[in-house]
Homo-oligomer: 372 residues x 2
């Protein structure tokens, strides 16, 4: 089964699990602000773009929603709540104001993430008063994880910048794309950038192909994607700079004799920040979806305040801590991020956290009818 | 939603998780032997009793199987494999020998257990070459956990002797059913036995009612149930004796001043071994299912050898260790089971492990058509 092959071939990059101070659950509040902001936008899209024809009020046909790359919450739960409320509102509006709850469909929600995700914590955090049947689906969303035409709505937020794997060439000493002394592509030579971009293109095609099979015709996909502005160099994006700084800190630990240079040479962070143009090209190339909306989201500061160096370091650690632990062992993690904080304070955190050139964009895709 | 209420109201009694020496995964080999034994029996039932009408070969209608009380594997995986192979065989036979794999349905398998189950371990243990889409479903099977008419086949093995909760009366000092100085009903007065039986009856009705809603008409339920022979006293069943011995050990720790008497008085093990007659009565009372088969399984010894005291202690510890840890703290667990082993060696392990009066039985239920 294709699902298995993909599931196995793509590596897993778990967010920090559990409930500790560096956990993803504790540090994802800036993402939360964006999610709240787009709530209204998504409501409008569901109201305007979701075909009533795919919603069955027959109790034996639940409305099926998947959140891909859900992590451990709580953002996934508020996103799902929004979607369900919007679909219910749409049902009520289309049936007239006298519609009773009996004419609303049942909802089944599939929470997906890598097998290494902390599903135990996710399940324990499920909202008590939820109005849906909750399920966990382990596996990479770059392969098939659901039966054919079994989903009505797919949501994925801040997950698609993770590649299925580090491009092989950048770890290959004999390749011109070997990424010696760096852990990311942003400040590397063109060959490295090309290898990352090729991996992104392959992954995105597999993502769209799998979803095209899993979604019913007329079904919607809402994606919130961390990307970069069109036409700029990758090194200008704050998010990429933040990762590049990790590489620089690791090289400092090499100089101190704490980490082996070979290990840093072979370690690379499997993320790629795409542009809206690149994403659009992938959707056209795939052919199964129409783009209903694509919109760059405004920059949002948490409580209107800029993040300080400590907060930025927390965010980067919650994103990469687990990956670094897997690669270099637990012992170096504290030391690495102490150094990171130090360096960040020198160069000013805003260079990593707040450049306008890193951006988030929202896309609404609709599954086209299958042509015969 | 009913699912939520039930999910919250019933307590969770997890098997020992993880991969340690006392883990459920390591000590469930005797259950495995029984599962292998019944493989052939289940094949015959699927061949003979499963209506081809409920199997759609349309790729958009997967065949949905739920394993209720799945724990962390590996038994759940082999049971699921057997079911799928039997359904595929049935499809091939009914379509003639030239049937290609294209005419087989896709399979979706829902692994269910309490929210406190170690789903992380379950997901990591999923067979690599599985031919199905795997999902985890957290929640008590004594309530609704699936949408209406969404399942074709339900399987549950050695899970239904767990009650949804300890009957309230047995923890109530003012009740005639107060179970002072004991942790189980087998050797207690009639009031305690009645309270346990009443809880069992309520739970079983809720189990059948939820499944009647979740299963398509014609869908099958295969249950493997740990019970006792008709017409004997509960104290004669080896399984119950094994639990009673835990109570006796706890009272010894009370005498030694290690455990408080009040805690033992309020602690009770929430299991009930039913007879085939009791089960039959519950199914008739519910009315939604026909009993297609009910068969007491032969006693099976692992490799033909009787379990020794050490092995029996391991089994009891893997079943109750987590529960006792939750109630009395981790510190007493080793001490308690050292004492258990000692006592068991005195009275001979066979009195707990091998009485003919504890038995397993297999039941096949079929969802009747809904009458209007």
């Amino acid at each position: 089964m294709e699902a298995e092959k993909k599931g196995k071939s793509s590596a897993a990059y778990p967010m920090n699990s559990g409930e500790g101070p560096y956990s993803y659950a504790k540090t994802s509040s800036s993402q939360r602000v964006v999610i709240d902001f787009i709530k209204e936008l998504m409501n409008k899209e569901i109201e305007g773009k979701l075909d009533m024809g795919i919603i069955s009020t027959s109790p034996s046909k639940p409305f099926c929603i998947a959140d891909l790359g859900c992590s451990v919450g709580p953002n996934t739960f508020s996103a799902v709540k929004n979607i369900i409320e919007a679909v219910e509102l749409k049902c009520q509006n289309s049936q007239g104001i006298t519609a009773s709850s009996k004419s609303l469909p049942e909802f089944q929600v599939f929470f997906n993430d890598h097998t290494s995700n902390d599903f135990n914590m996710l399940f324990k955090s499920l909202p008590v008063n939820r109005r849906y049947y909750a399920l966990g689906v382990p596996g990479s969303f770059y392969g098939r994880i659901f039966p054919e035409a079994s989903l009505h709505f797919v949501h994925s937020s801040f997950a698609l910048h993770w590649l299925s794997q580090v491009p092989k060439e950048v770890r290959d000493k004999s390749s011109p794309a070997w990424n010696k002394g760096r852990v990311h592509y942003a400040n590397s030579g063109d060959e490295v950038v090309r290898a990352y971009k090729a991996q992104y293109e392959k992954d995105m095609e597999q993502f769209l192909q799998a979803r095209a099979q899993e979604l019913v015709c007329g079904g919607l996909i809402v994606l919130i994607i961390l990307g970069i502005a069109n036409g700029i160099h990758h090194s200008e994006a704050g998010g990429n700079r933040g990762f590049d700084l990790v590489g620089s800190c690791l090289m400092d630990l090499v100089k101190k004799g704490i980490v082996s240079e070979e290990k840093v040479d072979s370690f690379n962070i499997p993320t790629y920040l795409m542009t809206t143009q690149e994403f659009e090209a992938a959707v056209k190339q795939n052919g199964s979806f129409g783009i209903e909306r694509m919109e760059v989201l405004p920059h949002v500061k948490v409580n209107g305040i800029s993040l300080n160096a400590q907060q930025v370091t927390f965010c980067v650690r919650s994103t990469l801590g687990e990956l670094i632990k897997q690669e270099f062992g637990e012992d170096i993690v504290d030391q690495l991020f102490d150094l990171y904080l130090e360096k960040l304070e020198e160069i000013h955190p805003s260079s990593v956290a707040e450049t306008e050139k890193t951006l988030s964009f929202l896309v609404v895709l609709k599954r086209k009818p299958i042509s015969h």
